[in-house]
């Protein structure tokens, strides 16, 4: 019990972020019209690629002879980049079409 309390107080900031951002996410999305659901899903998907920064840190820390970490890290960076870049480009392509009005 005490260790849980200690863990909570040690990570107080993160827990604040967690709670506030959950509410924020709910509020923002609740107002999106149905027509934008597909681009929105794709946009959110691109944002979930933020994990690529974790991959960059993993890689940047690895010793240059630690091939396991380097190879896995490289793979993580590649996959994360595809997620981020592909996600934003695809969303842009979809939204570009919404703009064409006559």
């Amino acid at each position: 019990m005490e260790s849980i309390l200690h863990w909570i107080s040690a990570n107080e900031q993160m827990i604040y972020i967690l709670v506030l951002v959950i509410f924020l996410g709910f509020v923002i999305i609740a107002r999106v019209p149905a027509v934008l659901h597909t681009p929105l899903m794709s946009h959110a998907n691109a944002i979930s690629g933020v994990v690529i920064m974790g991959a960059i840190i993993v890689m940047g820390r690895a010793d240059s002879d630690n091939y396991l970490a380097l190879v896995l890290g490289l793979l993580a960076v590649i996959l994360g980049t595809i997620n981020v870049v592909g996600g934003f480009v695809v969303t842009d392509r979809m939204l570009e079409m919404f703009k064409k009005k006559k």
Binding site: W7, N11, M14, L18, V21, I22, L24, G25, F26, I28, I29, A34, L36, H37, T38, P39, L40, M41, S42, H43, A44, N45, A46, I47, S48, G49, V50, V51, I52, M53, G54, I56, I57, V58, M59, G60, R61, A62, L68, L70, L72, G73, L74, L75, A76, I78, L79, G80, T81, I82, N83, V84, V85, G86, V89, V90, D92, L95, F98, K100
Partner: protein, 471 residues
């Protein structure tokens, strides 16, 4: 100095993600929102590469590897995003999502190996950290394998697959991964860590596969949205591990937004999330559909359809999945212009879940230059149907099935539908009498007002355009 600049970059990054999502809620600002969030992401990534400092104050190394990876990923990402057909968008999103999940898992794997090499120092491998590391692996793996299956299903590579007691097997698998993680967390340094760790890894992969396999193709958008929110959470786990607040914020934001989006999609189909995930769609419907005696349907020729439509004063087009598959959105727009030149008022009635993802139909029609104000949403369309002369249904089925209103035994009972029966005439274009995605018979096809116009949507539309032109 560098570290404080990085903090500012991260704060700006987090703000752009929030603003981007907010701007996405309005068609006018959506594109800008996407670019804003993208710019924030690029800034945060560059900041991480050049300004991030480890606990001992050293900068990140291996820039060659990092930029190599980014270059490869960018080329693949841009090419696949530019080349994908608009109709294949759901698969693409699913695939990208799965890759993000895999990336999150890999980070946890490297981190675990790193901790193992250090001999699991207690200050770096406490219960909290371990719980988050394992959550990252489990969530990332479910996202990865689940999205891969969803991708396969949407592109027609895998069929629905379910066996008796699958839900129980799934629950056991998930519980086993969690229990094994707990055992592992309590026995660090026992020598079996790697075996246990990779067991958790394997179990969560299998869980992802079995979790998505039995869910029907029509429900894939909901599943992708759910997996998207899981990938956000797995990213957040990575952010927590590295005490990286922009990754954490972004991940949680996607987790929360994805969850709400999933719920909104379920609402549009008037079903609960549990029903989507556990009630395999195809199963119950066979019994409901089979017991009913169906009448005869009536066919209409191309020529008659062309006559009926060009002498109507108001035509409502109901596009569906079939239109998307046949890539007929451009031809559809041609038909619209042709009818308009004859003085016919043409509108499109868009069901919220028409196509393969909510809003997908709007994107497809927008691609074909159909103007935005021609597309009307379900409630308004239902108000207008009584004044409509001809409804042309193009490859839509379940969204116009009256069983959703009248037959409590139907699996889609309660789903709001486009009430096309109110219009004076209904012409249904389908490839055959085969039931739609949900596998349910549609009484609409047997009503006296309804005429069937069989054929591939694109071919039929082209022929209609030619017919009307010649009149």
């Amino acid at each position: 100095m560098g570290v404080s600049i990085l903090s500012i970059v991260y704060i700006i990054g987090a703000v752009t993600f929030i603003m981007g999502l907010k701007m996405m809620s309005n068609p006018a600002s959506a594109r800008k929102g996407n670019i804003v969030a993208g710019a924030g992401m690029v800034a945060a990534i560059l900041g991480t590469i050049f300004l991030f400092r480890n606990e001992d104050g050293t900068l990140l190394k291996n820039h060659g590897w990092i930029f190599g990876g980014i270059a490869i990923g960018t080329v693949i990402g841009v090419l696949s995003a530019k080349r994908v057909k608009m109709t294949a968008m759901p698969e693409m999103v699913s695939l990208f999502n799965g890759l993000g999940g895999a990336s999150a898992t890999l980070i946890s794997v490297v981190e675990f190996n790193h901790l193992a090499a250090l001999g699991f120092p207690p200050e770096k491998s406490g219960a909290g950290i371990m719980a988050i590391l394992f959550s990252g692996v489990i969530l990332g793996n479910i996202t990865f394998s689940g999205s891969a299956i969803a991708w396969g299903k949407l592109s027609g590579k895998f069929k629905d697959f379910a066996f008796k007691g699958q839900h129980i097997v799934n629950i056991v698998l998930l519980l086993a991964s969690i229990v094994l993680s707990a055992v592992l967390g309590g026995n660090l340094g026992s020598g079996n860590e790697m075996l246990l760790f990779y067991s958790v890894f394997a179990l969560s992969i299998i869980y992802g596969v079995l979790f998505v396999l039995p869910i029907g193709g029509a429900d894939m958008p909901v599943v992708i949205s759910l997996l998207n929110s899981l990938s956000g959470l797995s990213a957040a786990c990575g952010g927590f591990l590295y005490d990286n607040k922009v990754v954490f914020t972004g991940g949680i934001l996607v987790g929360a937004a994805g969850t709400i989006l999933t719920v909104l999609m379920c609402k549009a189909m008037n079903r609960s999330l549990t029903n989507v995930l556990i009630g395999s769609f195809g199963g119950g419907s066979a019994a409901a559909g089979g017991s009913k005696e169906q009448g005869a349907h009536k066919e209409i020729t191309l020529n008659d359809s062309a006559v009926v439509m060009s002498y109507a004063s108001k035509v409502m087009i109901v596009p569906g999945y079939g239109l998307a598959v046949a890539q007929a959105q451009h031809t559809c727009h041609e038909l619209q212009k042709m009818l308009e030149s004859k003085g016919v008022e043409v509108k499109y009635a868009i069901h919220p879940v028409a196509g393969r993802m909510p809003g997908h139909m709007n994107v497809l029609l927008a691609e074909a230059d159909v103007s935005y104000d021609k597309l009307i949403e379900m409630e308004q369309a239902n108000d207008e149907f009584p004044s409509v002369d001809v409804v042309l249904i193009l490859g839509a089925n379940d969204v116009v099935n009256p069983a959703a209103k009248s037959d409590p035994a139907s699996p889609i009972y309660g789903m709001p539908i486009l009430d096309v029966g109110q219009a004076k005439n209904v012409i249904v274009n389908k490839r055959s009498m085969k039931p739609g995605y949900a596998g349910i018979e549609n009484d609409l096809f047997f009503q006296p007002k309804t005429s069937m116009l069989f054929g591939d949507a694109k071919k039929v539309l082209q022929d209609l355009v030619t017919e009307i032109k010649g009149m």
